[in-house]
């Protein structure tokens, strides 16, 4: 699984709690397919993040009567996201210099 998956999921959950299928769709939508992974691989990552304490989960019965597991970002997760953000931004800065990119994004 790519290193970018974690900040990706945390960023999506920062916008509010949500469930697995939505997250996969969201990733596809934002990345326009370039970051596509197989749906199933999302779940081990989610479970890992939950174990690490970055996200919380709860079961909710949907209006159609189906059980659905929702994930939400925790305070620790938010801190982690900030740290990740800082990391990625510095990485970005390094490559921008290395490759003489214009820093204005």
């Amino acid at each position: 699984m790519a290193a970018s998956t974690k900040p990706l999921i945390l960023s999506i959950l920062k916008g509010g709690k949500n469930y697995g299928y939505y997250i996969t769709q969201k990733v596809k939508e934002i990345s326009a397919g370039s970051l596509e992974w197989s749906d199933g691989m999302l779940y081990p990552v989610l479970h890992r993040l939950e174990k690490e304490g970055f996200i919380d989960s709860e079961w909710i019965i949907t209006t159609t009567g189906r059980k659905r597991k929702y994930y939400a970002i925790t305070e620790l997760g938010k801190l982690e996201l900030i740290a990740e953000k800082a990391n990625w931004m510095s990485v970005h800065a390094v490559f921008a210099q290395l490759w003489n990119l214009k820093t204005s994004v």
């Binding site: 479970h47 970055f54 189906r66 059980k67």
Partner: protein, 910 residues
């Protein structure tokens, strides 16, 4: 044949074969795959295609499964210290970090509010009410204190007074009725005085009939020099005040709209009924409506020169003995009033040389000790109630002070509730603090957390308070007759003040728990040894203080309402509720009265018709005459009446007889005196009242033919003074009095109206019931007692809220103690007694403090009434019982709940 459900079940069973998926995971995957299928079907694929797409996109089960197994071994991460250590020095990240903490505080605060709904409600609500009441009262007092302040020349405008002292140096009275020439003379003779304005209100001190555009109504007419518009800040909207012709009037905008609607009134004709004829005036200008907090008020101002050039004052212009004119002067900004005194003294003696003789005769050292001209600053006028005939009645400063105190009291009670409950609530949070400390929070952070929490709550209360003031203001304005506006509160200085009070309240409420709680040991927090609120000395003192205020207010309310009902139910000595008063007028050579009396004869419901020169309840008291009695200046009120007066008013005759129109001498010399007059002047029946002097239309001394029981022709704030009635030959008396039967009053009034139409077509039929007129005298006091009662009820409710919350909090912490007591054999009654005494005793202490304080203030208020109740033990007993029982019920309700609980349930959790 493709059956979707079978395929899904098959896929799931494949999933189950993999060790990576547990039960919860499988349900989650099922939800995922079904979502995928549904979406694909919606996108137009067949079930079979949809299933294939969804499973394909899910990917390899084996791979996912092995990742799942790995994910299970992951451990909880500790916060990334590398990030904290690295980035904390960076100011942006510091900000981010502190924002995170602040968000956390907010969230915890919100959770606490939600967790303890009742306490939070009391907590915020009481501060809201406290603030709202204070803001309203602040607006009111601000308006009172700033009466007349809108005038740009306020510092230079002065009212001329003639002050008379008694021989012992005490104030006798302050007169505002001056000679016509005083104003011009002051400007001429006193350097530094640059302008004068004279005002005159018609004798009757009533609204006059105004006619324009075929509309006849009554308005408040004032005669005044047009210099008033240069002296006072009454902006002219239309027209000009420069003309200064005798027949010019100035209208307020409201009056102009009433008569002229959309037309331009300037230059139009408006008629005023003066001495029974409508006289035409020209509208010279229209001014902005005069603000309600001005001590000069009028709807219509007639140029003063009308009085001196055309009207009835013409003959008095040079007469210094004539006094009826309210005079205001404006000084140069640099001139000093005190320096003018010698010149003023000299001027008074120049025009009234006989003051020196009177002063000498009566034993004054100098004429100045007897009478002095005095220039009173405009800003002092509103609160000077010692001047009885101001243009606008003065206001009693006591009320403003009282209200201010009540506002302060309510705010204090609200703040105390807020503090007590904040402290109480925070003691339940010992564990949270313990946890925060364990996680490394330092003391500063905890203090910041608690302070910011209570300040935010206080701000919420302030917001709600402003909202309620906005809603309540129209009602409050109606009650007080003011034009208060919320806008004032948003002026920077007041906004800062209000925010300041709120912040300080929030700060004090937060600072105690912040320091007390951040100081304790972590072990205590978890062992439950910590107690705050409900039982410590600080909160107990607050409760006593709060209830002292509440008790004060309850006693006050009882006394005020008892006094008001005493006044309203006191037998005034006449039947005002059946007497209709209608202003009389002359028509040609006769009066409405004579025609009206005829027109009313035989009308069912009309019992009696009489006329009188004066009605009751005038703010000036009864007109009469002064005379010398045994070397002292004495006075008796005189009402000229028609023969049926006593019957119409149902005034009781104690001795002697009533008027008999058959006896010609009754017109010339008979007087009927009231008891006070009879006693004060040591009169006897059927003998002359010598000191009164000769009657005006005969050469004989007036003879006392009867004695009336004292009746209250004025407000009960003043004593009944000597007065008498005389039979009038002349029917041109000011008022027609009609006594009607208490049954079918509305039909009778309609009949009175019909009869009026017959005799006076061009005048509107206007009537008042005499008892309404009498009651109107207390309108101010009544409004006051209403406002004060409402504030008092608010205060007591707030105090009980506070007590309730406090007891609830304290008991909540002692449930198990109560449980143990019960298990050990205590009865419910014993438990209630034990715990309720703890709190009711605080209320008892408050009562003991409140008693002397209230006695002092209320005595002062009652002294303003000549007829008053006494402050007796009964009232205090009642107040005591009310306070104690409210407090007791509040306490017992909460204690009983705990005492009745099954100890097994309570102790189960221990």
């Amino acid at each position: 044949m493709f059956i979707l459900e079978d395929e899904i079940q098959h896929w799931l069973s494949e999933l189950r074969k993999n060790p990576g998926f547990e039960d919860g995971d499988i349900a989650e995957m099922e939800d995922h795959i079904r979502d995928g299928i549904e979406l694909n079907i919606e996108a137009g694929h067949s079930e079979q295609e949809a299933f294939a797409k969804a499973t394909a996109s899910f990917g390899s089960l084996d791979k996912t499964s092995s990742e799942m197994v790995k994910s299970r071994t992951v451990k909880m991460k500790v916060p990334r210290t590398d990030f904290l250590a690295h980035d904390y020095s960076n100011s942006t990240n510091k900000f981010i970090a502190s924002t995170i903490m602040f968000n956390n505080y907010l969230k915890i605060a919100a959770r606490n509010v939600r967790k303890q709904k009742l306490f939070s409600f009391i907590n915020i609500f009481s501060l809201t009410i406290g603030l709202a009441a204070t803001l309203l009262i602040f607006l009111f007092v601000h308006d009172e204190i700033n009466f007349d302040k809108f005038n740009a020349n306020k510092a230079d405008i002065h009212r001329v007074l003639q002050i008379q002292h008694n021989v012992d140096g005490s104030l006798d009275y302050k007169g505002t009725s001056h000679a016509i020439s005083l104003g011009p003379e002051l400007v001429r003779e006193i350097p530094g005085i640059v302008r004068y304005t004279r005002f005159f209100e018609h004798w009757k001190n009533e609204d006059s009939y105004i006619r324009a555009n075929n509309k006849t109504l009554r308005e408040r007419v004032l005669y005044g020099d047009f210099t008033v518009f240069k002296m006072f800040s009454f902006p002219v909207l239309k027209g000009s005040i420069a003309g200064n012709a005798a027949h010019e009037v100035v209208l307020s905008e409201e009056t102009a709209n009433k008569y002229f609607a959309d037309e331009d009134p300037v230059g139009k004709t408006i008629s005023i009924r003066i001495d029974d004829t409508f006289i035409d005036f020209t509208v010279a200008a229209v001014i902005e409506n005069i603000p309600s907090n001005s001590s000069v008020q009028f709807d219509l101002l007639v140029n003063f020169s009308y009085l001196t050039e055309v009207g009835f004052l013409k003959k008095y212009i040079t007469n210094w003995g004539f006094g009826a004119i309210n005079t205001y002067v404006q000084k140069e900004p640099a001139a000093i009033i005190a320096n003018m005194q010698p010149a003023l003294d000299k001027m008074l003696l120049t025009h009234y040389p006989y003051y020196a003789d009177i002063a000498e005769q009566r034993g004054y050292k100098t004429a100045m000790d007897y009478r002095q001209l005095n220039l009173q600053p405009l800003m002092d006028i509103h609160f000077d109630s010692s001047v009885t005939n101001s243009l606008v009645p003065a206001s009693n400063k006591l009320y403003s002070i009282l209200l201010g105190l009540i506002a302060g009291g309510i705010l204090l009670i609200g703040c105390i509730n807020f503090m007590n409950l904040s402290i109480g609530r925070s003691s339940n949070r010992a564990k949270e603090i313990g946890l925060r400390k364990t996680m490394g929070a330092n003391r500063k952070q905890l203090v910041v957390q608690f302070l910011s929490e209570s300040i935010v709550l206080a701000m919420v209360a302030l917001f709600l308070a402003l909202l309620s003031v906005k809603l309540l203001l129209p009602v409050f304005n109606m009650l007080t007759g003011k034009e208060l506006s919320l806008a004032l509160l948003f002026e920077p200085i007041y906004l800062v003040l209000i925010l300041g009070v709120t912040l300080v309240t929030g700060f004090i409420s937060g600072v105690y728990p912040a320091f007390a709680l951040s100081n304790f040991k972590i072990e205590d927090a978890f062992s439950g040894n910590l107690k705050l609120g409900g039982s410590n000395t600080f909160t107990r003192i607050l409760v006593v203080f709060q209830f002292t205020l509440a008790t004060l207010l309850i006693i006050g309310m009882l006394v005020v309402t008892t006094q008001m009902s005493y006044i309203q139910n006191k037998d005034l000595g006449f039947r005002g509720e059946q007497v209709v008063v209608i202003p009389n007028s002359s028509i040609n050579q006769t009066t409405i009265f004579s025609h009206y009396k005829q027109a009313l004869s035989g009308v069912p419901g009309v019992l009696n018709v009489a006329a009188a020169g004066q009605t009751f309840g005038s703010k000036h008291g009864l007109g009469g005459m002064g005379f010398d009695y045994k070397g002292r200046e004495m006075r008796t009120g005189i009402i000229r009446v028609s023969e049926d007066y006593l019957e119409t008013m149902e005034i009781e005759l104690i001795s002697g007889r009533g008027f008999d129109p058959e006896r010609i001498t009754d017109f010339s010399k008979a007087v009927i005196v009231n008891e006070s007059c009879f006693k004060d002047f040591e009169l006897t029946l059927n003998t002359p009242f010598e000191s009164l002097g000769r009657s005006d239309d005969g050469s004989e001394d007036p003879i006392v033919i009867g004695v009336m029981k004292d009746f209250h022709y004025n407000s009960l704030t003043v004593d009944v003074a000597p007065m008498l009635i005389r039979l009038s030959k002349n029917e041109n008396l000011s008022y027609v009095l009609v006594k009607i039967s208490p049954e079918n009053m509305s039909t009778t009034i309609a009949a009175l109206n019909d009869a009026w139409r017959e005799v006076a077509q061009d005048l509107p039929f206007e009537y008042t019931f005499l008892d309404d007129t009498m009651a109107a005298q207390y309108a101010a006091q009544k409004d006051w007692s209403k406002i004060i009662s409402i504030s008092m009820i608010t205060a007591i409710i707030l105090s009980c809220f506070g007590l309730f919350g406090l007891v609830a909090m304290a008991i909540a912490g002692r449930r198990s103690e109560i449980g143990v007591r019960k298990v050990l054999g205590a009865t419910v009654a014993q438990i209630v007694r034990l715990y309720s005494w703890k709190y009711t005793r605080l209320v008892l202490i408050s009562f003991l403090i409140a008693m002397p304080v209230s006695y002092y203030t209320l005595e002062k208020w009652l002294e303003t009434f000549a007829y008053r109740i006494d402050l007796d033990v009964k009232i205090y007993l009642m107040a005591g019982i009310i306070t104690m029982s409210i407090a007791f019920l509040t306490v017992v309700y909460k204690i009983l709940e705990a005492a009745l609980a099954n100890p097994a349930h309570v102790l189960r959790d221990e």
